[in-house]
Structure formats: structure tokens, C-alpha cells
Symmetry: C2
Subunit: 211 residues, 2 copies
């Protein structure tokens, strides 16, 4: 589990980003801050693995906050305006990554994993290769062991299809096979019943929230 701290004075982005990153199985947002001073305190208190920092912030800019942190963990600087001077200043302050806020979530997640693994993204000419390498390398411990059919069944559970006969109809298999798949899921995820399976399914992002 990679522990992340976010600094941004745009609360919509802050709250949303937190939700989105927490929905990624191996990422966890341990705290957020709306200005530089708050952020420095947050990082020193909780010791996250990776920092996500917006440049434009009140009190202390992201760059200043980063400079202020001794032994700072890997930091990724985000900005609205990807000017060249911003990049250079971020690099000088010790950032290992520099992203536009137009970046998409999977790329951000990959960048965070890369940063947590100690890789430097700024100035890397093989950036795509690095990101690809960190693109969901592992899901959860047991989740990666799930077969396609098992994931499909979990998807149904997460969308509220819980009765054996309904699942069987939806998957065009017998009720017996549904139970077999469930038993296999229980073992792999170390859980005991459908309710827990539903919780796990949602946590693993196996639900389709858009139809």
C-alpha cells in the first residue's frame, strides 16, 4: 500500500483526487492540505511515501513547501500551467516527477508507483516505458489470482445481483456453477460470504458504475 499526501488549494480537485486514488487498490491517501504550511506539517506528522503537490498555493507555494522539507519522500509536482521554468524549479527543489493536471488517472497512478519505487521521471527520455512498467503491476494479493469468470461474478455482486438464481441467469450457467465460483472466490480472497465478497468487489473496482 503506497501512502500518499496531497497538497492543492482547489478543494474540488483535492476531494475528488482523494476519492479517485483511494479507489485504486494499492494506493491510499493519508492526508490532504490546502496550503503549503499545512502540507509541511502533514508530511512531517504522517510520513507518507509519495507527495502530490500543486505549485500554485497560498502561504507557501508547492515548490517552497518542498524545499522546506528535509528528507522529503518522492515528490510529484502537478500544475495547471506546464511552463518550462516551472519544471526546472520543481526539479531544483527535488521533485522526481512533473505532471500536468490533464494527466489521466491511470498515468498518475503509474507515476505514483514509479516514484514510490524510487524512479525519477523528470528528464527521463523513456518516460512511457517507465509508466508502462508500473501500470497496475499487481492488483491485490489474491485478486490477481481471480479468473475472468470470477471477476465477472464479483461485478454482478457489486451491482446488487446477489441471489444464486439471478447470478446464474445473468451468466448463463447453472446455480451449481455459481456456487462453485463463489467458493473459489471465498478461498482466494480469504472471505466467507456474499456480503464480504460484495465489499471486496467494490474495493477492487470490479463494479461498472457507468452502464
Amino acid at each position: 500500500m503506497i501512502r500518499i499526501a496531497i497538497a492543492d488549494d482547489h478543494y474540488l480537485l483535492l476531494g475528488g483526487l482523494k476519492e479517485a486514488l483511494n479507489a485504486v487498490p494499492d494506493l491510499e491517501v493519508i492526508g490532504t492540505a490546502g496550503d503549503g504550511e499545512e502540507f509541511v506539517a502533514l508530511v512531517e506528522t504522517h510520513g507518507p511515501d509519495v507527495l502530490l503537490i500543486d505549485i500554485e498555493m497560498p502561504k507557501l507555494t508547492g515548490i517552497q513547501a518542498l524545499r522546506k522539507l528535509k528528507n522529503a519522500p518522492a515528490a510529484i509536482v502537478m500544475t495547471m500551467h506546464t511552463g518550462d521554468d516551472n519544471l526546472k524549479r520543481a526539479e531544483a527543489a527535488g521533485a522526481v516527477g512533473f505532471l500536468s493536471k490533464e494527466t489521466r488517472l491511470p498515468d498518475l497512478a503509474a507515476a505514483i508507483r514509479a516514484a514510490a519505487a524510487g524512479e525519477t521521471l523528470i528528464g527521463a527520455e523513456n518516460l512511457d516505458e517507465i509508466l508502462d512498467r508500473h501500470r497496475q503491476p499487481v492488483l491485490d494479493a489474491g485478486a490477481s489470482a481471480l479468473t475472468a469468470r470470477e471477476r465477472e461474478l464479483l461485478g454482478l455482486l457489486a451491482s446488487g445481483i446477489s441471489a444464486t438464481d439471478e447470478i446464474a441467469d445473468a451468466m448463463f450457467i447453472s446455480q451449481k456453477t455459481v456456487k462453485n465460483h463463489l467458493a473459489s472466490i471465498y478461498e482466494k480472497l480469504a472471505i466467507a460470504d456474499r456480503a464480504q465478497a460484495a465489499v471486496e468487489a467494490i474495493r477492487l473496482g470490479l463494479h461498472r458504475r457507468d452502464t
Copy 2:
């Protein structure tokens, strides 16, 4: 359920905002767009109830996109830079709300509800009063009818405590009372078993994801 369309070229905000708003029980993001043209098509196809529009966008700015829409639903304009001329242009284009991206999620949700209810936020001198009036006025149909103890039980379910005896121990009540509460929950939420209850509990935000 208020159906929302979002336009923003910053994908981090777009994805995050979508996650955050979908987590609000009475709100549903039915589509997102990264530029003005895409957005116009999205709105005309899906007919959302409320529009969330960023001003700064490629191809068509938010203002231009809004002008282009005939019979546009209630529109809230968001921006990074709350300049006075931006506000006036948004108003002229037919927006009913104008928010900085520093707005916090509960305020945004209230503004969306107000807009969906046909209220105009721009230029309203009693803005706070309007927002307060729409601050979670209703949860879900049945969800607001849930009692404190029922919510507590759902919280346990959402965190993976699903067996009757475990719930009973955690809540310091008999197994019988657990079943009574569950039966009451099933009726109020129109569901049938613990697995569906777990799904609903998570959707209603009754789980504590930060310990």
C-alpha cells in the same frame, strides 16, 4: 437522482470530481467531456439535469459551448480564476451558478441541487441561505428513514463484518436484534439480503474508509 454532465480539460479533476459526485447518493455523473465540442454532443445526447462547465477548454470554451446549447439545462460554471469579467460572461451565456474550484464538495453538491431545483445562484445576495437549504435536504428515498442503529449496522457490513454473531458482538446486542435491524433495513432500502445491503452501504458512504 440528479443527472450531471461535466466539462473540463483537466482530466485529474474530471475523473476525481466524477468519483466524488457519484459517491453522493442523490447525484449521478452521466458523462464527462474534455473539450467544448465533445461536451455539446454529450449534453444533446444524454439530456442531463445540470451542467458543470469549466471556462478554460480547448476547441470551444465553456462559455461558447453554453451559448451553443439551445434549451440548455441549468448550468454551473467553474473556473480557476474568478475574475469579474468571467462571471459576467458566464451570466450572459445563461449560467445560473458561478463557482471557484476552491469550492468544497458539500457546497458544490448543494449548488447542484439548487440549480436542479431551478434556483439562480448568480447575483443572489442570500447565497448562503440557498445553499443551506439544499445541503443534503434528502438522502436517498429510503436512506433518510434509516435510524442511527441501522446506519451503524450498515457501516459494519460495509467494512466486512457480515456474520450475525460478529455484528451482534460489535454492537453489543443479541443476534435476534441484529436480524430485526436487518429486516428493517431490507424493507426501507427495498433490498433482500446482506450482500445487497453491503453494496448500498458503500454507495451511501456509510463505511469509514479512513480508520
